[in-house]
Symmetry: C2
Subunit: 267 residues, 2 copies
Amino acid sequence: MAACQLSLHVGEITANRATALETISAAAAAGASVIILPELTPSGYVFGSPAEARACAEPADGPTVAGWAAQAARLGVVIVGGFDELGPDGRLYNSAVLADPGGVRAVYRKAHLWDAEADFFATGGEPPPVVDTAFGRIAMMICYDAEFPEWVRQPALAGADLLAVPTNWPAEPVPAGERPNVVLNIQAAAFANRMFIAAACRCGPERGVTWTGGSLIAGPDGYPLAGPAGADGPELLIADCDLSRARDKATSPRNHPHRDRRPALYG
Amino acid sequence: MAACQLSLHVGEITANRATALETISAAAAAGASVIILPELTPSGYVFGSPAEARACAEPADGPTVAGWAAQAARLGVVIVGGFDELGPDGRLYNSAVLADPGGVRAVYRKAHLWDAEADFFATGGEPPPVVDTAFGRIAMMICYDAEFPEWVRQPALAGADLLAVPTNWPAEPVPAGERPNVVLNIQAAAFANRMFIAAACRCGPERGVTWTGGSLIAGPDGYPLAGPAGADGPELLIADCDLSRARDKATSPRNHPHRDRRPALYG
């Protein structure tokens, strides 16, 4: 598996697309079968206006996603990446797509919007799909979505082995010697569900915003298999993951983090 | 606030009670107003049989809790600690109590039992109460309970500033340089709810079981204010906490981890 921390630049769609395609090729050359890209990879993040966000948008059968699907077919890999989606309803969504050699398998629209995103994007209203691929069952959600443990639970209960999280984590102060809390959150979400989670963040300062970096691939016990990445530059994180390990959720002879839930009490 | 990591010994009730009372006094002398003790403090954990668990049990108005309530009144503090409860229904519960100068304010019974605990204890069926104390609104849950983010949400949504977690985390392998995943989980739960969480674990090998230690006090951003403790001995962790900070849950000009939830989608 590869989590690709990319340097991106708002509005520079051609350059960002090329960065993504080059990184996908490098990841596949390094042996990766499942390749995760950041949130809003082709467009960048810090839009100056709704008009700019719209100018950067493209439909789910547009050139970025078509390029990823073609590369997935050529390389025999799964690609998950975020993009600025112009929906069939004319609205914009902060979306992610999963493409494999069979084509575009699923599109997911971010359901928990962060800060100014609400000025640009409509809110998704469907749970993360779980896609059965040649390498395991893969779901996706985007950045702030993953801070809602109830949301992470949905694909986990639906059988996801891996949750792929394209993200753009804005940098916040982190105490010396600590991992960023957004990174800990990914680790704990993996632990709580005994599934793999891979988060791919971005770098490259943009209109006054810097990024956490911190891309990582966490195993079902919550410990990193690769990363967390630093904040300062692109990183290609690779980990050898047997996704079927996420199907053994026994944590003791009698415990299982999903079966031990008591939903009748959860109000 | 104090999280007290104690050395305990199964069945040595008189000695364990004395250890707790001495540590409460030391914590108060160090300035603590809210003092958290481990799970099953008077009894120890690794029972050999249901009969032994029953022999170590006492009602919620028994000597251990009465001793804590008296000390809470004498010192003007809040005490949260775990004990082996003989319920009014004749069943045993893995319980925690909150005592303050007003007496015993609440008893909570563990709702998610770990491994062999099910041989000894009945399962609690009530959500963690949130108790309004002189120092803030305090809830409690026990050890494995806190690995269910849905369960942590209940008292958080009910207004808890602090979640006190008496725990006995059995030791599991931890990769070099990593914090135990049970510790990360506490940090992430604090972050997800922007509330304080303090976990008090135990030490002292018992019938072949060793413990994680890892006691900590996490702030609303998920970073430790004290700890995590090591695994090898008792520790008295103290942190200066303004619990009212947990009431400001704004994470951006437009974001709030509770208001941003989308419960209609959470199935």
